[in-house]
């Protein structure tokens, strides 16, 4: 089982519903977020191109945050989901420094926090909160090892990319382009 997410940049309108749904679902304190929107426009007026992405922890297969964690608080859980065990976390911030995606933040209660792929929901057979709420249905979550999963189908039929492939992290969040 390899959990992954694919986000269709052609459909995403950057409304940030994923951000507020995550905040409410996971009780992320105001002023912080586990996911966010990136809008990138290239070219000069009027020859422009835009890409909008909902971004979050990439749940890397080769996760620098896990490798550098001195206490083992950051670990790879079922399905390759990268998690932080808050009780073990000393808040040293090494993982925040090591993440090429800037996907982690220091929670005001002293530990490091990040996207969990809503593993608590996934265990109940639900989709992550961001995926479930998205008005444009631009996000797909599922098991890459299951060829019949929607995400496997999307990755078979669509062009896609990952962020910062040069970092060698083998991300599990894909962007359909």
């Amino acid at each position: 089982m390899r959990y992954a997410m694919a986000i269709d940049t052609k459909k995403c309108v950057g409304c940030a519903d994923c951000v507020v749904a995550c905040q409410i679902e996971n009780d992320v304190p105001h002023g912080y977020c586990r996911d966010w929107i990136t809008e990138k426009t290239v070219g000069t007026y009027p020859k422009l191109e835009m890409e909008i992405r909902s971004e979050r922890c990439n749940h890397c297969e080769n996760a620098p945050c896990v490798r550098c964690c001195p206490t083992g608080a950051s670990y790879i859980a079922e399905g390759g989901v990268v998690l932080v065990e808050a009780a073990k976390c000393i808040g040293c911030g090494a993982c925040i420094e090591s993440c090429p995606y800037d996907a982690r933040y220091s929670h005001p209660e002293g530990h490091v926090d990040k996207c969990t792929f809503c593993i608590h929901r996934v265990r109940e057979g639900k989709q992550p909160a961001c995926v479930a709420v998205c008005p444009t249905k631009c996000m797909y979550f599922g098991d890459l090892d299951d060829p019949s999963s929607e995400i496997s189908k999307q990755l078979r039929t669509r062009k896609f990319k990952v962020l910062s492939p040069e970092a060698g992290t083998k991300p599990h969040v894909y962007y359909l382009i």
Binding site: V13, C15, D17
Partner: protein, 737 residues
């Protein structure tokens, strides 16, 4: 000299005061909220969203402690299909906002200074009833006006009519969608309404004229736009700004602002000259085609190029694309369409273009909507007013179908008029951030003899009130059933998920209590609003119990099929019974029977056209203090093209003040966003920021209110819409003290 009505800025006592604890459950540090057995016992209550007018049906989820934990869209609701937008998801913030109004407040003078003091409901309602009765006795009940937006308006409108006034007005007409309703009514005999009956999910070509779908998060429509993208449909976007929708378009036409009608006429020219229009539909169902063809003969793409800056081959290519897709092609009627004062004519041009594509009643075009008629709870007939909003218009705006909110301000200023307005009830609309020409609003607010404001939040409008009545949020109350036109008719129930916080009350209760004090008990023959709902639902063959379980209920269509059957000739509710490409009605009233392009002023040297719009996480000025939505966006920026930024030596993030063509300088500074996404002759900002009341602790002092900068208002002579996009601003890099 002290004014009659000082705008009270400083936080008075009794505003806010209840702080909700975090939703975090103690002892669960580091554990999932949903692993807790207590939390898993969540109950859910149906509601429909009040953060915007789309009114998506949803469930409020409440934990065993009675705390509202989250709001999730109703799976069966066609407005949202189980997926709320960021505002609906963050609607929780309306309930949790620490700045909420919590008690009734009354304006008093202490040590020569006006302030608010807390009042009991009895005291506040007695005072409101007394003042309304006095005004009614002296000037007639017609002199009392209601400004409203949202659900509270229904209840206060009933009270107003029971008193004998029909002077209720929602700025959503003259400040927003009015011209399009009139333009489509004149052409097809039908208004668009809300949600618009657009079959976007099955369209092959969607044309957006300045409509920034996706940034205006009209939920179901954005969802259908994503569906059509999935199916490979094409989008054509006309906008001087590279909007989100433009970024998803096959063709983006970066038009010179204020020239849209020229483009629309050129498109009509191409469809006719190249015989790309639906000949069969036009022959059978329209009148005035020959006049139209004659009218546009010279309006070639080459002609339009000189006006719009859109190249002729692009005009032809896009016209051919929509024709090839027709009838599954839609020229979107837009929503906020009060731009340049000729907006009804632009909406007419859009309607005519749609008619030529033959998309009326066709899959992928316009479907035939239907809604459930919810019966009125029995009450005595309303008294007949001696005059109403039409008398205020005094013959102007002959095609206005609803009242024109800004003319109520004029009627308040003109105290000597036989049709003067003296008392205001304002429910759910922040007028100085809604109606352009704030100076006129200020003057009217000073002249008004009594103002009562009903709101959940201490918006700027409350600073002008004599009495403030704190409404509970939609999550804490019953309300009217939602019924809105859609593919299938539905009703939706809103019921409370929690007790109202503080001393807040629902509008139905306020109006009933005021009715009692005004001797109008007969209009409020119920102890509780559930009696009204129970009675209405019984008439509809349902019950409150059933609706509490279902949330929404679908009814079978009665009006016929969703699309036009091939074997039937459609009938249009116009004087001719046909689609009126040429409008004899307009001609008789002295207006152009077929739309014409008129040149509008362009910005003077050093000034830029002020364009404004929406962000998906905000609704007008009402959400900027919402803690969840402010986390997503807590201020607006002024978008500036890099060339303009270079000329002015502006840097990203630099604060500037704006000054408009009439010398109005923004109250607050705004940060610069340098971007290629805006034309060099324009600037852009998101509407609804620039709050000046400190009571909005989150939103205070952030960004600029576009409404403040809009002082040149171009009235639509046909129906009274307030054209707001003829304002030009320049930058002031250091504040003038």
């Amino acid at each position: 000299m002290q004014s009659r009505r000082d705008f009270i800025r400083i936080s008075a006592l009794g505003i806010g005061g209840i702080t909700l604890g975090s939703r975090t459950i103690p002892g669960l540090f580091g554990k999932s909220l949903f692993d807790n057995p207590v939390v898993s016992e969540m109950k859910r209550y149906p509601t429909y969203c009040e953060v915007c007018f789309w009114k998506c049906a949803a469930w409020s989820h409440v934990d065993a402690e009675g705390r509202i934990q989250k709001i999730i869209g109703h799976d069966d609701d066609p407005h949202c299909n189980g997926r709320l937008c960021p505002r609906g998801t963050g609607g929780l913030g309306m309930y949790e906002d620490p700045d909420r109004l919590m008690t009734p407040l009354i304006r008093v003078e202490e040590d020569g200074k006006q302030t608010f003091r807390k009042a009991s409901w009895d005291e506040a309602l007695d005072l409101v009833a007394k003042r309304l009765q006095e005004l009614s006795a002296t000037y007639g009940p017609e002199s009392i006006a209601l400004f409203n937006h949202g659900s509270a308006g229904h209840h206060f409108s009933h009270l107003l009519k029971a008193m004998g006034s029909v002077n209720a007005s929602a700025p959503s007409y003259a400040q927003c969608r009015g011209p399009r309703e009139v333009g489509f009514k004149l052409t097809f005999g039908q208004v668009m309404g809300s949600p618009e009956p657009l079959d976007i999910r099955d369209t092959k070509c969607l044309v957006l004229i300045g409509s920034h779908l996706g940034e205006n998060m009209h939920n179901g429509q954005v969802q259908e736009m994503a569906d059509m993208i999935d199916k490979g449909g094409d989008i054509i976007t006309v906008d001087p700004r590279y909007s989100i929708a433009a970024g998803k378009s096959k063709y983006w036409l970066p038009i010179k602002p204020a020239t849209d009608i020229a483009l629309l006429l050129a498109w009509i020219n191409v469809l006719i000259e190249e015989k790309l229009y639906d000949v069969d539909f036009v022959q059978k169902n329209t009148i005035g085609f020959d006049q139209l063809a004659h009218h546009v003969r010279q309006m070639t793409p080459e002609w339009a190029y000189g006006i719009t800056t859109i190249k002729p081959d692009l005009i032809r290519k896009t016209a051919r694309l929509m024709a090839a897709a027709s009838p599954a092609a839609i020229i979107h009627p837009g929503r906020h369409v009060t731009w340049y004062g000729d907006d009804t004519q632009r909406s007419r041009a859009i309607a005519i273009l749609n008619a030529l594509l033959g998309n009326w009643g066709r899959r992928g075009g316009f479907y035939f909507p239907e809604k459930v008629k919810v019966p009125d709870f029995p009450h005595p007939p309303y008294p007949k007013p001696k005059w109403g909003w039409r008398e205020i218009l005094d013959g102007k705006y002959p095609f206005a179908a609803l009242s024109i909110a800004n003319t109520f301000l004029d009627a308040t200023i003109d105290e000597e008029s036989p049709y003067a307005i003296h008392g205001w009830i304002v429910a759910g609309t922040n007028l100085p951030y809604t109606i352009p020409d704030v100076g006129r609003f200020e003057e009217a607010a000073q002249k008004a003899k009594f103002i009562v404001v009903v709101d959940t939040m201490p918006m700027e409008i409350t600073g002008y009130a004599d009495v403030i009545l704190p409404e509970c949020t939609y999550l804490e109350r019953y309300d009217e059933l939602r019924t809105s036109p859609h593919r299938e008719p539905y009703i939706a129930l809103r019921m409370p998920a929690a007790e109202p916080l503080g001393e807040t009350k629902p509008a139905w209760w306020m109006t009933k209590e005021l009715g009692k004090r005004l001797g109008l008990e007969d209009y409020f023959q119920y102890a509780d609003f559930t009696e009204v709902l129970e009675w209405q639902l019984e008439q509809l063959g349902s019950s409150l119990d059933e609706m509490k379980k279902l949330g929404i209920k679908k009814f079978p269509r009665k009006s016929g099929p969703l699309y036009q059957p091939d074997n039937e000739v459609p009938w249009f509710n116009t004087p001719s019974g046909k689609v009126e490409l040429y409008s004899a009605q307009l001609k008789e009233a002295g207006f152009d029977p077929i739309p014409n392009y008129t040149a509008h002023p362009t910005p003077p040297e050093g000034f830029y056209r002020l364009n404004y719009g929406r962000a998906p996480m905000h609704t007008f000025s009402r959400t900027s203090n919402n803690p969840y939505l402010a986390d997503l966006m807590d201020e607006n920026f002024v978008w500036v093209h890099p060339k303009v930024a270079s000329k002015w030596s502006l840097e990203n993030g630099q604060e500037v003040w704006l000054k408009n063509q009439d010398g109005i300088v923004s109250d607050l500074p705004i940060k610069v966003r340098i971007t290629e996404r805006i034309r060099w002759d324009s600037v852009y900002m998101v509407h609804g920021f620039g709050h000046v009341t400190k009571k909005l602790t989150q939103a205070y002092g952030k960004g600029v209110s576009d409404t403040q900068m809009i002082t040149n208002v171009m009235d639509d002579p046909i129906m009274g819409g307030t054209g707001m996009r003829g304002n030009f601003v320049t930058f002031i890099k250091e504040q003038i003290s």
